[in-house]
């Protein structure tokens, strides 16, 4: 059984139905990017996956030993209060709360886990700094460390690159790749950056107003919806740090754009 199985999901945004019949699965070890135009229900789907909102129809099942509280989450930057007075350590530690039984304060193990994640993301030297005084990229690493404190299995990211400069975005992609490859963490990311999505993801879920696609990256690039979507916007240099070599079709698209 897969980590997450969604069948015939219906999603509403306020009173508007944005998705009628959406089915997909997320396997253990997957790297899924959810793409689609604005207003197609990407964020609403994310809320459903996170349990912040119930689906308006269809079923969503968690399997393979994954529990609701074993999900790490990296929210959109704009969702966090930028003026909040908190140290990096306090923010990262707050990711440890989910595994907690009844005891009221952080245990040694939880503190060690937070320290380990800060080390992993190279922010140990920032531990006592104030979160609101960090740069966008540093803030994103702090939130990522917090998310990793909350999970060993599945990481959900909601538009993690919004507002970051290209260099920092590239760096974030390589951190994610590392987390995925060496920690064996399954990744689900909502993004509008399709080119980078196809370069890094294993699987693509495209949700559109009229047509949707679910399948591997290679299939997506060949599909009609994928070609249309990729064709509009491909700019290979934007993704200069990507480890993957560009595929034939992408290069062609890039040239025709130039």
């Amino acid at each position: 059984m897969a980590y997450i199985t969604c069948e015939h999901l219906m999603l509403r945004y306020e009173s508007l139905i944005v998705q009628k019949d959406l089915s997909f699965t997320v396997e253990q070890g997957d790297y899924l990017c959810i793409v689609g135009e604005n207003g197609s229900g990407k964020s609403t789907l994310m809320k459903c996956l996170l349990g912040l909102k119930a689906a308006d129809g269809g079923t969503m099942q968690f399997g393979d030993g994954l529990k609701r509280n074993e999900i790490g989450y990296l929210p959109q930057q704009s969702m966090i209060q930028r003026s909040f007075p908190a140290s990096v350590r306090e923010v990262v530690l707050s990711g440890c709360l989910n595994g907690r039984a009844i005891h009221p304060f952080y245990t040694k193990e939880e503190k060690a886990r937070a320290a380990e994640q800060m080390e992993c993301l190279n922010i140990t030297q920032l531990a006592d700094r104030c979160y609101r005084e960090l740069s966008g990229g540093q803030q994103q690493r702090v939130l990522l460390a917090r998310a990793l404190c909350a999970t060993k299995k599945l990481l959900l990211l909601d538009e993690p690159l919004t507002g970051l400069d290209p260099l920092v975005a590239t760096e974030l992609y390589s951190i994610l790749q590392h987390i995925h490859d060496s920690h064996g963490i399954t990744v689900i990311m909502v993004t509008h950056d399709v080119e980078c999505a196809v370069r890094h993801a294993k699987t693509i879920l495209h949700i559109g107003k009229n047509e949707s696609f679910f399948g591997s990256c290679a299939e997506y690039e060949k599909s009609a919806v994928g070609q249309r979507f990729l064709g509009d916007s491909i700019q290979p240099e934007e993704c200069a740090g990507c480890a993957h070599t560009h595929t034939q079709s992408e290069d062609e698209e890039g040239r025709s754009d130039a």
Binding site: L50, G51, P85, A86, S87, S94
Partner: protein, 276 residues
């Protein structure tokens, strides 16, 4: 200015001043702790709304001859729950819903008290009467304040998580609704206790001022909480002392102290940002 040695007879100190001092410190502590969460969650209005509801209920309780505090606390806790739900679900928007609800409750209370011709009695609670509290009131306030402080400390980490990022907390399995309710209930208790001492008009600023001042000085959540507590308690003590010295209203004097500290802190941060 008063000659303090004339007022501060041993009897006055032990019967009136000391109990007021203890209860006031306890409530100031609660108010500052919760104030930090309320300000950061951007729902300072809930404190204000609850004090309106509290005052309204108090008027009704007095008009009907019931014990004011014991009736008001449960009603305000219920109101806190309703206000929270309203601000979550209302199509009007949280602020508007709170304003409508709380002013209606206030109006009902004033209606009841004017029918019963109790206006003089009730107006005590508009401005507070810390030096006129009974021994029973003081003991009750102190016990409840200690409960509020203990619960806050026990759930400190979770309150931080819920205040900092509600969505993340909920997504990772924390019962956010419960903790929001907890904050609202603690706020409700604090508002009622504070209303008896500082007055319905002033209690919400007693919650907000120390938090806002602390946020100007400190950069860590723990630091902000600690600073808010220190500011709140010392402003209360200075305010009380000042009110004895100048024969002014206690609640108002405490708020003015808070205002002065806030102004000083703002000035300091402004100067630090622009070194001459």
């Amino acid at each position: 200015m008063h000659d303090l040695s004339a007022i501060l007879t041993p009897e006055y100190v032990s019967v009136i001043l000391l109990p007021a001092l203890i209860a006031g410190v306890a409530v100031s502590l609660c108010a500052s702790l919760l104030g930090v969460s309320l300000v950061l969650k951007r729902c300072s209005m809930i404190g204000d709304g609850l004090s309106h509801v509290g005052y309204g209920t108090l008027c009704i309780a007095v008009a009907l001859g019931w014990a004011p505090m014991k009736v008001t606390i449960p009603v305000v806790i219920a109101a806190a729950y309703i206000l929270l739900r309203l601000s979550e679900n209302s199509r009007l928007g949280g602020d508007t819903a709170i304003a409508l609800f709380s002013t209606s409750a206030l109006a009902l209370g004033i209606l009841a008290s004017s029918k019963a011709n109790l206006t003089t009695d009730v107006s005590h609670y508009m401005f507070g009467s810390i030096l006129a509290m009974t021994r029973g009131d003081v003991i009750f306030s102190v016990i409840l304040s200690i409960c509020v402080i203990l619960v806050y400390l026990l759930f400190y980490d979770k309150i931080f998580a819920v205040t900092f990022d509600e969505n993340f907390a909920q997504a990772t399995g924390l019962n956010v609704r419960f903790y929001n309710l907890l904050i609202a209930v603690l706020t409700a208790v604090t508002v009622v206790l504070g209303m008896m001492m500082m007055g319905a008009l002033l209690i919400s600023s007693l919650m907000i001022f120390p938090a806002v001042t602390a946020m100007r000085i400190c950069k860590r959540f723990r630091g902000v909480v600690a600073a808010a507590v220190i500011i709140s308690v010392s402003c209360f003590l200075f305010g009380l002392f000042l009110s004895l010295l100048l024969d002014t209203a206690v609640g108002a004097s405490v708020i003015i102290m808070n205002l002065l500290v806030f102004a000083a802190a703002s000035l300091c941060t402004a100067l630090r940002r622009k070194p001459a």
